[in-house]
C-alpha cells in the first residue's frame, strides 16, 4: 500500500478548461481542413511534434538525473515522469500525418528527383519504418524508467534505482541519435534541397529548454495547489531556473552556430532557408523568436533572486514556451505556405488544443502515483537540498 493519500483530484474548472482547449484545437483543425488544408496538416505535424518533444523532455530529464546520480530533483520527479504521457499522444498525431497526408513532404510526390544517399534515405516505407523504430525506442525507454520509479514506491528496493541508472545511460545515446534523425526526417525534409548538420542539436536545444519551462510551470502550479507544497522549496526553483537559463543560452548558441555558418558561406542552396524566413512579417517573427527564447530570459534570469521568485520564473517559462511554438512555426510553416504570411488562427487554435491534450495526459498519469517518489533512496537528500 502507498504511504500517502495519492488521489489528487483536479478541480472541475480545470478539467473543463482543458476540454475547452481541446475543443478549440479540434475546431481549428476541422475548419483548417476546409479552408487551408496544407496549413492544417502542417500544423497537426507541428503540434504532434511538440507533444512528442514534451514527452521526451520529461523522460530525458528523469534519465539525466539517474545517469548523473543527481538527487536534488527527486522531490518533484513525478512531474517530468508524468509529462511522458504526452509522448504517445503526439506519436499518434504524427502517424496520422504520415499515413493520411504524406504529401506534406515534397519528396514523397517527386520520385526520382533526389539522388544518391538522399534518394535512398527518403523513401516512404523506410521513412515509416524509421518513425516506428524511434517511437518504439522512446516509448520503451520512457515507460521502463517511469515503471521502475513507480514500483519503488511499493517495495523500496534499490534494484529499481540501479536498473534505471543502467537504462538511463543507454537512453542518453539512443535519444541523441534518434532525436537528431527524427528532426531531420520530419522537419528538415520538408525542404529536402536544404541541409544543416546541426539541425538535430538545434531541435534538441529547443525541446529541452521548452521541457524545462513546462516542468517549472507544472512544479510551481502543483506547489501552489497543494500536491507538491511540502516537497519543493526555493532551492529547487533556483536550480530549475539555472537550468532554464543555461539551456536558453545553449539554444541561442546553437541557433547562432547554424545561422552564422550559412550566412558566412552564403551558398544558394543553404541561404534559401533563411531568405524565406526573413521576408516581411516572417522577418519580424524571426527576431521575436530570438528575443523570446533567449533575449528576455537571459537578461532577467541573470540574477539569482529572479530564479527564486516564482512569478518571475513562471513568466520566463511562459515566454520560452511561446518562443518554442514560434520556433517550430518558423521551421515548419514557411515551406508549406511558401513564405506567405497569414493570420495564424489555425496554428494558434491547434496549439491551444495540444496544450489541452498535454494537460489531460499529464494529469491522468500524475494522479496514478504518489506525488513524490516516497521510497527513493535520494528523497531525503532532495528534500534537504540547498545550493
Amino acid at each position: 500500500m502507498n504511504h500517502f493519500d495519492v488521489t489528487y483530484h483536479p478541480s472541475p474548472t480545470l478539467t473543463r478548461s482543458l476540454l475547452v482547449l481541446i475543443g478549440a484545437g479540434v475546431l481549428a483543425w476541422a475548419l483548417g481542413l476546409v479552408f487551408a488544408p496544407e496549413r492544417a496538416w502542417a500544423s497537426l505535424m507541428l503540434v504532434s511534434f511538440w507533444l512528442v518533444s514534451m514527452g521526451l523532455a520529461g523522460s530525458l530529464f528523469v534519465g539525466l538525473q539517474y545517469a548523473c546520480g543527481a538527487g536534488w530533483a527527486v522531490a518533484f520527479r513525478r512531474v517530468p515522469e508524468a509529462m511522458v504521457a504526452a509522448l504517445p499522444v503526439g506519436a499518434a498525431g504524427l502517424i496520422l500525418v504520415f499515413l493520411i497526408h504524406p504529401d506534406l513532404y515534397p519528396w514523397m510526390a517527386q520520385h526520382g528527383e533526389s539522388t544518391g544517399f538522399q534518394a535512398l534515405w527518403l523513401q516512404r516505407s523506410f521513412f515509416l519504418l524509421r518513425a516506428i523504430v524511434y517511437f518504439a525506442l522512446w516509448l520503451g525507454f520512457s515507460a521502463y524508467l517511469v515503471r521502475n520509479s513507480r514500483r519503488q514506491d511499493e517495495d523500496g528496493s534499490l534494484s529499481h534505482t540501479r536498473r534505471n541508472i543502467g537504462a538511463s545511460l543507454a537512453y542518453m545515446f539512443v535519444f541523441a541519435l534518434t532525436y537528431w534523425l527524427a528532426s531531420v526526417d520530419w522537419i528538415m525534409s520538408l525542404e529536402p534541397e536544404w541541409t544543416s548538420t546541426i539541425f538535430g542539436i538545434y531541435n534538441f536545444s529547443g525541446m529541452f529548454v521548452a521541457g524545462l519551462a513546462a516542468i517549472i510551470l507544472l512544479v510551481l502550479w502543483l506547489k501552489r495547489s497543494a500536491p507538491l507544497c511540502d516537497f519543493v522549496n526555493d532551492e529547487h526553483l533556483h536550480d530549475l531556473g539555472k537550468l532554464l537559463f543555461a539551456f536558453s543560452t545553449f539554444w541561442m548558441y546553437i541557433f547562432f552556430s547554424q545561422y552564422m555558418l550559412i550566412w558566412y558561406a552564403n551558398m544558394t542552396e543553404e541561404s534559401v532557408y533563411y531568405i524565406l524566413r526573413q521576408q516581411g512579417v516572417l522577418g519580424v517573427l524571426f527576431i521575436v523568436n530570438v528575443v523570446l527564447n533567449w533575449g528576455v530570459p537571459f537578461l532577467i534570469l541573470l540574477s539569482s533572486a529572479a530564479k527564486r521568485t516564482p512569478a518571475v520564473l513562471a513568466s520566463m517559462a511562459v515566454l520560452i514556451l511561446i518562443g518554442r511554438w514560434l520556433d517550430l512555426y518558423l521551421m515548419i510553416l514557411p515551406p508549406v505556405t511558401h513564405g506567405r504570411a497569414a493570420f495564424p488562427w489555425i496554428e494558434t487554435g491547434m496549439m491551444l488544443g495540444a496544450m489541452g491534450l498535454f494537460g489531460v495526459a499529464f494529469l491522468a498519469w500524475f494522479r496514478r502515483a504518489p506525488q513524490t517518489p516516497v521510497r527513493d533512496p535520494m528523497l531525503a537528500q532532495s528534500l534537504g537540498y540547498h545550493n
Binding site: 547562432f256 545561422y259 552564422m260 558566412y264 552564403n266 540547498h386 545550493n387
Partner: protein, 177 residues
C-alpha cells in the same frame, strides 16, 4: 589591548553550524570560521552579506565585450577595410564569436583577479593557520570577548555542548590576518 578569544574545534560540519547558530543567538562576536571546504548554507547561518563578486564579473564581461566589439569594428571597417565574400565591412554576425570569447576571458580573469585582490592572496604570502587541521578534517569557530559580561566558562560550555572536540583559549595577537 589584546582581546581574549576562544577557538572551538569541531569534527563535523553540522556541529559547527549548530554552534554558530547558538553563538549568534547569544550575540557572541564571531571573528572567523574555518573549514577545509565550502560548507553549504554557512553564509546564511552566519548572516553574511551577498558577495559582490558576481557584479565584478558582470562589469568585466560587459567591458570585455564592448572593447572587443569596438576593436573589431575599428580594424575591419575603419582602419583597414577588407572585403570578405562581398559582405559589408561592419558585419555583426562575424564579430559575435570573438566578442563572446573576449567577454568570457575578461569576466573570468577579472573575477579571479578581484577575488585574489580582495582576499589579499598575493604570491609568496605566508599561510598563517590557526590550526593545521582546518585544512584537513577539522572545522573551527573563533569567538572574541566583547565586554566584561563575557563569561568564558559559559561560552566554553556552549561550544562543548554543540560537539566541539577541543576548545582553545588564546589572545588576539596570535590570530592570523
Amino acid at each position: 589591548m589584546s582581546q581574549f578569544q576562544l577557538l572551538g574545534v569541531f569534527g563535523d560540519e553540522s556541529n559547527l553550524v549548530g554552534a554558530i547558530k547558538a553563538a549568534r543567538e547569544r550575540r557572541l562576536r564571531i571573528v572567523e570560521v574555518y573549514a577545509p571546504y565550502a560548507v553549504h548554507g554557512l553564509d546564511r547561518v552566519l548572516g553574511l552579506k551577498r558577495s559582490r563578486l558576481s557584479l565584478v564579473c558582470l562589469i568585466a564581461g560587459a567591458l570585455g565585450a564592448a572593447l572587443k566589439l569596438w576593436f573589431e569594428i575599428w580594424t575591419a571597417a575603419i582602419d583597414w577595410p577588407v572585403d570578405v565574400g562581398g559582405k559589408p565591412w561592419n558585419s555583426l554576425p562575424a564579430f559575435v564569436p570573438i566578442t563572446f570569447e573576449v567577454m568570457v576571458l575578461f569576466a573570468g580573469l577579472g573575477t579571479v583577479g578581484a577575488f585574489l585582490l580582495i582576499s589579499r592572496l598575493r604570491p609568496g604570502k605566508q599561510p598563517k593557520l590557526i590550526d593545521p587541521r582546518i585544512t584537513n578534517d577539522r572545522f573551527a569557530l573563533l569567538i572574541e570577548e566583547t565586554d566584561a559580561a563575557f563569561d568564558v566558562g559559559r561560552v566554553r560550555a556552549l561550544l562543548e555542548r554543540h560537539g566541539a572536540v577541543e576548545v582553545i583559549e588564546r589572545l588576539a595577537e596570535e590570530v592570523p590576518a
